[in-house]
C-alpha cells in the first residue's frame, strides 16, 4: 500500500489504462497542457502524446458527440467535462445518443465512453460551479452512474469504468482531489455496481455519497463516543444500485439516514430512501431520514458554502434525532 491523493489515483488509473489499451484516450479542455484543472492528468500528454491526450476547445456538445462517434469506431474515450455545471451543454449527446444507441442497434453498437466530470461545493466557486446534478443521469436508461469518495475507490472504479462497454457518467468531487488514502501498489479493479461498507456498526445505517462519506465517517466517530454505533455505506455506483448491501444493513440497524450534497427534492436521496422503505419497511423503527443540502444556490465563500451543505456536526445531530426514542417528523 502507498498513500496517494484522490487526484493522483485518477492519474494512475488513466496511465495504467492508456498503457494497457492504446484505444483509451482522454479528451477535454486543458487535459493536456495543464494536465487538467486539478492536475489529475499531469504529465500524461508527455507520455502518451496528442493521440491519447487531447486538449479540446470550449465546445462541450462537440466534445461529448466526439466521444460518441469515436466509441462507435472502437475507441474508448474518456470525455472530461471540467465542471458538472457545464454538462448542461452536453446533455443532448449523453442522453439522446450515448445512452440510446446500444439499444437502438439491438446490441450491435457498443459505446464504451466515460463521461468524467466533477461536482459539488467546497472550493468557494459559487452557484454556477458547485452543483450536484448526478441524479439527472440516474434517471436516464442506458447510463451507469459512478461517484467515488476515496483515492482507493476512484482508481479502481475509474479503471472499471474505462473497461466497461456502457457509457458511464463518472462524477468526481472537487473537494476530494487532495484527500489522501491508501492504494495498493499492485493493479486492482473495483466492480461497478458494488457498494462499500466504509464502517461497520449496529445502531444506525448512514448511506452517504461522494464528499459526504468522509463527513459521515467523522460523525460516526463522534457518535461512537456517545455510544451510538453507525454503519456507514457508500453506494459508490448510484445506478445500478447495490441494494443488497444497503438492505442488509438497514434490516440489522432498523434506522437509516441518507446523506447527500444535492438538495433532497428531486435528488438521489429520494431514490435511496424509497428503495429502503420498499425493502425494509417492517424492519424500520422510523422512516428513513434524508439529510441533504439546503435548497439553495451554493453561496460564495468558504464559510457559507459549508453551512448550506451537510457537515460533521449536522450529521451527528441528524443521527441523534434518529436514535432519540419516539421522535418522529411531524407533518
Amino acid at each position: 500500500m502507498s498513500v496517494i491523493t484522490y487526484g493522483e489515483a485518477i492519474r494512475q488509473a488513466y496511465q495504467e489504462e492508456m498503457r494497457r489499451d492504446r484505444n483509451v484516450f482522454l479528451m477535454g479542455e486543458d487535459v493536456g497542457r495543464w494536465g487538467s484543472l486539478y492536475r489529475s492528468s499531469k504529465g500524461l500528454l508527455d507520455e502518451f502524446g496528442r493521440e491519447q491526450v487531447k486538449d479540446a476547445p470550449i465546445s462541450e456538445a462537440a466534445i461529448a458527440g466526439c466521444g460518441v462517434g469515436s466509441a462507435l469506431m472502437g475507441m474508448r474515450p474518456i470525455v472530461e467535462i471540467m465542471y458538472i455545471d457545464f454538462i448542461t451543454i452536453a446533455m443532448d449527446q449523453i442522453v439522446n445518443h450515448a445512452a440510446k444507441w446500444h439499444q437502438l442497434s439491438n446490441g450491435k453498437v457498443k459505446l464504451p465512453i466515460v463521461f468524467k466530470t466533477q461536482g459539488g461545493a467546497g472550493r468557494r466557486n459559487s452557484s454556477q460551479h458547485s452543483q450536484s446534478l448526478e441524479n439527472w443521469f440516474v434517471g436516464v436508461p442506458g447510463l451507469i452512474v459512478v461517484m467515488p469518495s476515496t483515492p482507493y475507490d476512484v482508481k479502481g472504479l475509474l479503471k472499471s469504468a474505462v473497461r466497461n462497454d456502457n457509457p458511464v457518467v463518472f462524477v468526481e468531487h472537487k473537494s476530494l482531489y487532495s484527500d489522501k488514502g491508501e492504494v495498493p501498489e499492485s493493479e486492482y479493479l473495483i466492480p461497478l455496481g458494488q457498494a462499500d461498507v466504509k464502517r461497520a456498526g449496529e445502531d444506525v445505517t448512514i448511506v452517504a455519497t461522494s464528499w459526504m462519506v468522509g463527513f459521515a465517517l467523522k460523525a460516526a466517530e463522534t457518535l461512537e463516543a456517545d455510544g451510538v454505533s453507525c454503519e456507514v455505506i457508500d453506494p459508490r455506483t448510484l445506478w445500478p444500485l447495490d441494494k443488497e448491501t444497503i438492505i442488509r444493513s438497514v434490516k440489522k440497524t432498523g434506522l437509516c439516514l441518507v446523506v447527500t450534497e444535492a438538495p433532497a427534492e428531486g435528488g438521489w436521496s429520494g431514490e435511496a430512501s424509497s428503495v429502503i422503505h420498499e425493502h425494509c419497511f417492517r424492519d424500520l423503527k422510523k422512516p428513513v431520514k434524508r439529510h441533504c443540502s439546503i435548497r439553495t444556490g451554493i453561496p460564495y465563500g468558504p464559510v457559507l458554502e459549508r453551512q448550506v451543505v451537510p457537515n460533521v456536526e449536522s450529521i451527528v445531530e441528524a443521527v441523534q434525532e434518529l436514535v432519540t426514542q419516539g421522535s418522529l417528523i411531524a407533518v
Binding site: A61, C66, S70, G74, M75, V109, P184
Partner: protein
C-alpha cells in the same frame, strides 16, 4: 474517380422517388407510425452525395433519412420495415422512421436536428487516428446550420483536420421556417469562412453536378485535405411531414416554379436529348415499380418486435466475473 453515367444516376433517383411514394402511401394508411418526412425533389442530393460513398465510409443522416439510407446501400427491406416498426428493420423496428442504426452499412441517423455533426467529429477522429482508408459524410439541413452543434462540430473538425464531408442539404425550409428568414447569411456555405474552409455550393437538383462535387470532395478528404462543407441547393416539394399545413408558409406558385427544376425531369430530358430511347427509360421505371410492389407485399408480412426484444439491450449487464477488490 469513376466516370459519371447519367442514366445510372437517373435510375437511382427513380428508385428513391418511387420508394418515397410507396412510403407516403403506407404513412397515409397509418402503417408508418412516426412523423414521415417526404423526400420528393431532393433525390439528386441523396444519389449524388450519399451514393458516392464506399460501403465502409460512414454516413450520418437526419430525421429525413430514408433516401440517404438507400443511396448509401442500406437495403430497401431494412429501411422500409424500420419505418413500419417491423423486426426486420435496421433497428429491429424499435427506432422508427427518424432514428435507426445500420452498422453493417455504416449508416446512422437520428431525430435531433444538428446532433449528428458532433458525432461525425468522433468518427472522423477515429478514422484519422486509426489511419483507415475511409471517410465520414455528415448530411444535415439548412435548419440544422443554426444549431450550436453545427458550429462546435465544424470548428472541431477544422482544427483537427478531420476526414469529414459536411453536406448541408438546403431544401429552403426548416419545417415552416424559410431559410431566407431564419439563416442570417445569404448562402449557408458562407459559414465555411468561420472555420477556415472554402465556400462550396452546388446545384442540388443537378445529379451530375452533385455526384461530381461529391466525388471530388470525398477524394480530397481521402487524401487528408478534409474537412469540407458543401451546400447543396434544392427544394422540398412536399410538406415537411404528411399533413403539413403548407399554405401557412409557402405558395402553390413557388412550389410549382420549383417543380419545373426538379431533378428527375431534368435528368430525363437530358437523357432523351442525348438520344436515349424513352421506352427504355419507361421500362426501367416499370421494373422499379414492380420491385417496390413486391417489397410492399413482403414488408406487410413481417412481424413486429416483441416486448422482450423492445426492452432488451438497454444496457450491457455488469459482468459478475469482474475481478473484485483485493
Amino acid at each position: 474517380m469513376s466516370e459519371i453515367r447519367l442514366q445510372g444516376l437517373y435510375e437511382e433517383m427513380l428508385l428513391l422517388r418511387h420508394f418515397d411514394q410507396l412510403s407516403m402511401q403506407l404513412k397515409l394508411k397509418d402503417l408508418i407510425y412516426s412523423g414521415y418526412h417526404p423526400y420528393e425533389g431532393q433525390e439528386a442530393v441523396a444519389v449524388g452525395f450519399c451514393g458516392a460513398l464506399e460501403k465502409d465510409d460512414v454516413l450520418l443522416s437526419t430525421h429525413r433519412p430514408h433516401c440517404h439510407a438507400v443511396a448509401k446501400g442500406c437495403t430497401l427491406e431494412a429501411v422500409l420495415t424500420e419505418m413500419m416498426g417491423r423486426v426486420t428493420g435496421c433497428s429491429g423496428g424499435l427506432g422508427g422512421g427518424m432514428q435507426y442504426l445500420d452498422p453493417d452499412h455504416c449508416f446512422y441517423c437520428g431525430s435531433v436536428v444538428g446532433s449528428n455533426l458532433p458525432i461525425a467529429t468522433g468518427i472522423g477522429m477515429a478514422i484519422k487516428q486509426q489511419d483507415l482508408d475511409r471517410v465520414c459524410m455528415c448530411i444535415f439541413g439548412d435548419g440544422a446550420s443554426n444549431t450550436g452543434s453545427f458550429h462546435e462540430a465544424l470548428n472541431l473538425a477544422a482544427i483537427w483536420k478531420l476526414p469529414i464531408v459536411f453536406v448541408c442539404e438546403n431544401n429552403q425550409f426548416a419545417e415552416a421556417m424559410p431559410v431566407r428568414e431564419f439563416v442570417a447569411c445569404e448562402r449557408i456555405a458562407m459559414r465555411a469562412r468561420g472555420y477556415g474552409l472554402e465556400e462550396i455550393t452546388v446545384d442540388g437538383n443537378d445529379v451530375e453536378a452533385t455526384r461530381r462535387v461529391a466525388q471530388e470532395l470525398i477524394e480530397c478528404t481521402r487524401r487528408g485535405k478534409g474537412p469540407f462543407l458543401v451546400e447543396a441547393l434544392t427544394y422540398r416539394l412536399r410538406g415537411h411531414y404528411v399533413g403539413d399545413p403548407e399554405k401557412t408558409y409557402r405558395s402553390r406558385e413557388q412550389v410549382d416554379m420549383w417543380r419545373q427544376k426538379e431533378p428527375l425531369t431534368r435528368a430525363r430530358t437530358k437523357l432523351l436529348q442525348a438520344g436515349v430511347d424513352a421506352a427504355e427509360l419507361d421500362a426501367m421505371e416499370q421494373a422499379i415499380e414492380n420491385r417496390l410492389d413486391a417489397l410492399r407485399e413482403w414488408a406487410l408480412q413481417q412481424a413486429f418486435p416483441t416486448l422482450e426484444q423492445a426492452v432488451d439491450h438497454v444496457y450491457i449487464p455488469l459482468a459478475k466475473g469482474e475481478r473484485t477488490c483485493p
